[in-house]
Amino acid sequence: MAVVTGIKEIIKPENLVYKKTNIMTENILSYCPGCGHGTAHRILAEIIEEEGLQSEAIGVSPVGCSVLLYNYLDIDWQEAAHGRAPAVATAIKRLMPEKFVFTYQGDGDLAAIGTAETIHACNRGENIMIIFINNGIYGMTGGQMAPTTLPGMKSSTSPYGRDVKTMGNPLKMTDIVATLPGSYYVTRQSVHTPANVKKTKKAIRKAVRYQKLDKGTCLIEIVSNCPSGWKMTPVQSNKWMEENMFPYYPLGDLKTPVE
């Protein structure tokens, strides 16, 4: 009996500390255990809810593990062809400038096949937000080398490690975007600890504000993990990310507006 009263006590509304964000749908996420995509979705959903953007937001989902993102956030979505999300978002924002328009893309999507669209949308300073999940690999197709794969890093198409002489160097797309006059706010974050989640959330909130003020492209890179593609446990993958990804892709702002 005591136990039951205990539970009843605990589930009282005033004791509630954490719950599913309303913007997240009931659909079960298809991600591997420990994958950063889920956390990134959650904070995006929180911002949309907190800023009251549900009826304004139009998202463009990529081709990659997050291809089904449109099933998880209860807003309007368009699914773009692989790499083309920034072009799709360009038209949405130009034709419906009062809406909040964003893309959510992986490294293969944004920095390989979609390089041209990314650079040109940012160069035009399209007033959109781009969320860029950099996990250094093609997760969806089973762990092939991405443009962001680190030197020496193994993947299914660099089974002996990425040889920069024949396979090129990891591409720092965010750094490139930061040099373009059209980009307004460019930052690199992560979501693997509560502190980093807070920072990323703050960055997204800023981007929302800048878009309202018609400031130009905001790109938020989230350096993330891919336990399956990296062939690690979630915990190992986060440690490996801190030790290997962060030195190459240091966290922090790359371009901040003078306000």
Binding site: H82, G83, A112, Q144, M145, T157, P159, Y160, T166
Partner: protein, 356 residues
């Protein structure tokens, strides 16, 4: 020389056969259900053995243009992808056809349109056989129905590509790409050292410069070129039709099917014959050139034909043209990545022709 026996996926067989055929370069981009091709090649690392170049491009568009560049040097080059990626390659493919360059493009088809599904389909038949990109052109299209053929057709593709200076497409599907079967592999060939007189290899004093282009601003010149292409395609139609027949001697009805559907239909033929229905199968091996003449001949002997494809009905149009009204022709197919069952084919045949 003795052939080596292996158990392999269709995709792996293409990759291994490419190394053994002495291919000079492979350029690709990952996409399911054909990513094993580039993965296998990267693991095998033929740069160390035959000197074959293997490169993961930043996109399918880049990959096909790498093929253009390599082919224009007279090299044996190839790419592979699956439906959405093949769509992206279409611009490069029409330029390759327009510049009359030899190469191999492998399409391990998945269901569409759009991002569609990653499961097997045969819905790229029109795209493969009727052009795909803009302008009047044809690819030579080979349709493997087994892992063995995925391996064998690599060599055959390059033979035809160089013979006619024409791009060749191997039109496979997710089932044959992913399935493992026994395969007998040919021994390693040396990479060719031939220098083609049309290729850009650096102009010696002994020949005119070579320019690889598909541009002709003079309408008369362009028309002459189109006529030359037509003549080439007619020659291909004359010489290169390939097909396989299965139990057609006494057949009263004929199935026409290629690739995975042809495998399914073999079983349908068995099932129908157990019920006393005299059914046969014609399996086109070349989809361009299409075995029209043979199908037209068979139309004199059978009461009807059923084109079985994992599509909404594409090859059926070529069957209809071949039959030219002599007997009724119907289409049967599942879509969306669903593979037809042998029983469904027999059911359809009965409902269309035998009334019940």
């Amino acid at each position: 020389m003795k052939k080596e026996l292996r158990l392999m996926k269709g995709n792996e067989a293409v990759a291994e056969a490419a190394i053994r055929a002495g291919v000079d370069g492979y350029f690709g981009y990952p996409i399911t259900p054909q990513t094993e091709i580039i993965e296998y090649l990267m693991e095998a690392n033929p740069a160390e053995t035959t000197g074959m170049i293997v490169l993961q491009a930043e996109s399918e568009i880049a990959a096909i243009n790498m093929v253009y560049g390599g082919a224009a040097c007279g090299k044996k080059v190839m790419t592979s992808s699956s439906s959405p990626g093949i769509s992206l390659k279409q611009e490069g493919i029409t330029y390759i056809a327009g510049a009359e360059l030899p190469c191999l493009i492998v399409n391990v088809v998945r269901g569409g349109p759009g991002l569609g599904t990653i499961q097997p389909a045969q819905s790229d038949y029109f795209q493969a056989t009727k052009g795909g990109g803009h302008g009047d052109y044809h690819l030579i299209v080979l349709a493997p129905a087994s892992v063995q053929e995925m391996a064998d057709f690599v060599d055959l593709s390059f033979e035809l590509a160089f013979k006619y200076r024409n791009p060749v497409m191997m039109l496979s599907d997710g089932a044959i790409g992913q399935m493992m079967e026994k395969v007998y592999l040919s021994p390693q060939k040396e990479r060719s050292k031939t220098i083609y007189d049309w290729a850009t290899t650096g102009k010696p004093a002994t020949r005119e410069r070579n320019i690889i282009t598909s541009l002709d601003l003079d309408p008369n010149g362009q028309e002459l070129f189109n006529l030359k292409l037509i003549a080439k395609y007619n020659l291909i139609r004359e010489n290169e039709v390939r097909y396989e027949e299965f139990q057609i001697e006494d057949a009263e009805y004929l199935l026409v099917a290629y690739g995975t559907s042809a495998r399914v239909c073999q079983k349908s033929v068995q099932l129908a014959r157990e019920e006393g229905i005299k059914l046969g199968l014609l399996r086109p091996i070349t989809l361009f050139p299409f075995p029209s003449k043979r199908i037209n001949e068979l139309a004199n002997r059978v009461k009807g034909m059923l084109s079985v494809e994992m599509s909404a009905g594409q090859m059926v149009e070529d069957v209809l043209l071949s039959v030219n009204g002599k007997v009724p022709v119907f289409h049967f197919g599942r879509m969306g990545g669903i593979v037809t069952t042998p029983e469904e084919v027999v059911e359809c045949l009965k409902s269309k022709f035998i009334g019940g």
